[in-house]
Symmetry: C2
Subunit: 581 residues, 2 copies
Amino acid sequence: MSESPPRSKLQEDWKTLCAKKKAAQMASIPSAWRIEQPPESQLDVLSAVETCGLLSPQELELIETGSRDVSVLAEMLATGKCTSVEVTTAYSKSAMIAQQTTNCLTEIFVDRALQRAKEVDDYFEQHRKPIGALHGLPISLKDQFTMKGLETIMGYACNIGELADEDCVLVEMLYELGAVPFVRTNVPQTLMWGETHNNVFGRTTNPYNRKLTPGGSSGGEGALLAMKGSPLGVGTDIDGSLRIPSAFCGLYTLRPSYERLPYHGASNALSGQESISSVLGPMSTSVSALKLFTKALVDARPWERDPLVIPKPWVDAQYQLAEHGSGKNMCFAIMWDNKVVRPHPPLKRAMKMVKAALEKAGHRVIDWEPLNHLDIYRTAQTILVADGGEDYRRACEASGEPLITSMSPDDDPHPLDLEIPLVKTLVGSPRSRSAYELWQLHKEKRTLRKAYLDHWNATENLTNTGRPVDAIISPAVAYTAVPHGLNYDSFYTTLGNAMDYACSVFPVTFVDPAIDIPSPPHEFHNHEDEAFYKLYHPDLFPGLPVGLQLIGRTLEEEAVIGMTELVDTALKEYKKDNQLR
Amino acid sequence: MSESPPRSKLQEDWKTLCAKKKAAQMASIPSAWRIEQPPESQLDVLSAVETCGLLSPQELELIETGSRDVSVLAEMLATGKCTSVEVTTAYSKSAMIAQQTTNCLTEIFVDRALQRAKEVDDYFEQHRKPIGALHGLPISLKDQFTMKGLETIMGYACNIGELADEDCVLVEMLYELGAVPFVRTNVPQTLMWGETHNNVFGRTTNPYNRKLTPGGSSGGEGALLAMKGSPLGVGTDIDGSLRIPSAFCGLYTLRPSYERLPYHGASNALSGQESISSVLGPMSTSVSALKLFTKALVDARPWERDPLVIPKPWVDAQYQLAEHGSGKNMCFAIMWDNKVVRPHPPLKRAMKMVKAALEKAGHRVIDWEPLNHLDIYRTAQTILVADGGEDYRRACEASGEPLITSMSPDDDPHPLDLEIPLVKTLVGSPRSRSAYELWQLHKEKRTLRKAYLDHWNATENLTNTGRPVDAIISPAVAYTAVPHGLNYDSFYTTLGNAMDYACSVFPVTFVDPAIDIPSPPHEFHNHEDEAFYKLYHPDLFPGLPVGLQLIGRTLEEEAVIGMTELVDTALKEYKKDNQLR
């Protein structure tokens, strides 16, 4: 964000600037790839890529392959079984369809991406070997990952017209690994919402049901990937921003610990805030993306580019779960309720499925005793607004655009009459803190981290494995995707950010109103818990993906990826055996 | 620090409280171990342990062994060649002598230490094996490392009478490793001075010359170790606090990167400040202490006790310099002048000696081009006072003691007429910053870290090794120990803290007025540089130890230890060959 916008910008009203930017974005969709918009009343647009007729059968097959297992597609590219131009073309088309149905993109640069794909193909042609571990693979990027010559709007009108001088370290490394960055994806203004809407590009919708949010802040990625508009996307997470959209859109993601992957040079909200660091991670419809992306980057020694990245190489033994009984007879724990908000019935059913699947696969599953979750939430949220909104205020003032204070659509309320008394009662009003006050919050956080560490270690007495619980299975969000304006849940994700636990999200099942019937009221933990309880209407959520979170220890990315694959395999087998979806 | 002191304390004046505490400390020295004080005019007290007659020849031999090579002493203890009671008794005696000549201690608990030593010996007697890697070894601790049942004064009167409920994680682990914590050592009020003086215990002096400071804030350790009053001490470093006293007292130390060793539960100044984290590290007269201590702790998996510690095991290949050409034909760079303050002649001579020694040993030595050192210093110093002194103020207010604003002795100025216009002109007045302002400082720091990383990587073109410079050799302080009140130098140490580089300090030689003659004036970099230049009087510094710093990369502790041993060996051979001291 520029603190003093160039004179030329001040001459134009922010609305005019945004309208021009949006028009330019529309114009950047190749005209041959414009599709007939599905009617507004069509809520589920997942099939648009297949049905709109824009993609050839070969292109559809590439996309199917990439969405089923991105490592297979990567292997095809690395061995010359398909070209990057073919794959990039196919995904560019599907991304344009995703954009036209869910409004998930920001920067669109088809020519640049195809030019890059051509260079990658030429390299292969000449050398008969791939450039790197991500050879030819189109990769979508959240609208924070600066690319030379492009704007990085990141949800703020003030960034219109500001072209980046250089690639951020992530993009620099992706290029060196052979990847093809091909679209950038939408975010909410401020980045600090679990939904995706801003004054420049507008609102991104959930392709499972466009009246619902795809989550946020990496919600553009969520919608794009669910539409099969990208085989692998990169988002960020400071409070759940990778995990919320992944859970809402049926995706896999990895939230690595602080400073494992290179963030340097990317734009960010609350830039310079280092108490709870934002991290970047992969999102995808296939579990193999987690290892493919993370290993490729770590193997390329990101600590030589980003001074904040820890020099920890990829340890394959950890991925093989050497420290977790080599993946045999492990002990997982399920967090049925974190005592702040109780999950909706589909989440509960999903946890039961995972429990059954893991037990079937020979593992032990015990209950997780939650500890201090409300205190952890309060401390973390207080830290994240310790500037009293100064960062947002300056970014808005730079263009004159208003700060968005609600994600509810003004003109398009949800048809259901939802009386949801959602008030942020759990954390006091944000106010500017002094550095001294921030230090006191750090002490609170440190005490809470120590208590959670000791608590986790103490489970050694419960597991029968000689180790503490290997991983916690928990909701990522207490509900599935909700109507726009209603997602206030980071109650299950903040833990990972505040404690710096490596976490993943994986899809489990879909809401089935026939079996996911409302529970009788329980003794509510608090006001939010009651509001969440009242939000559950079986009619609202049919067919929506239900994802869960796997929580591992700090800097245990390899093991978390290995365990996520293990759980995913167990779940697929369990579902197959029991003919479940 | 307690924010509201107990009523009983408020009834007593801080001076009375301090006097009582000091009297209690005096009384805790066993009467048989009181020695005749050397006359005040005797400046060099290094030989007091040998000459005072308190130690038996066997005890003196144990102490000589431990001071020459602590790993030999540790091996003797681990194999039953001597008992912990013998060693702890010998070092307790020498520590009491160090206390009586340099005032270096805070808590004295001989009975507890000998009781512990007895338990350790009993364990060995019974099991015929050591408890752990530090079996029976007496270890001195800076007055931050909380021990159950003892006060942690840490330079503040308000902490008098506050007994700790539990051991900090370091102490807990040291006990499990078999060590014998046996004394705690003095620090300055606020911990943020490069000298050692407070209202409770008073001033610690340098045993090489008691008119001079041992440095700080780990200055109690510095004086104690130089007196052979401990075989291994633990200090901390937020801005040079391990390295300054090590350089001033002829010691070895390691300043590890943030979050490698367990700080949890230790008292600290600026507690909760996490922008530039204080770290703990070993100090010793023998280089082997660095590996002995660091490996013992890391092997004991401190990340299972302290949530902030990175789960990075000890990597022996890194210690063997696998990433530095296996220690053959390396390329070092010497920072002759950081362009902020120019080092005094003895430091320059020490660097020349190291250069010659390394070249003799087959390595290449090039000049280091300094980058942004003043900006780094300013940014770091601004961060460290971002609370505008609130932390200090509260700690002083809690007892009513005054904040110490100068380390100069009121009643005992140095006989030399030193007109030293030392003014902190390089950093503006400290003021309280908001969290938002602190975040902007983090951005500055991050930009500076990235620039230094790129700068270091770019040396790959100069080294002829195919790698960037393996390590930088630099002063730790621009001068040797100076008279009390005159040390204002963290200009060469802040780099390590702000960039989070693993660094060591090692002794090189001693000041020799015959050859360390003053240089002609140079074009001064700034006011401080001029003041430092004027401070050099050959008469002031004869015989003082001259230490240098070795600067490695972030989290490269193993390699920094390996390189320090390599430099130390090369230097010893060079000195032997050339009959130098």
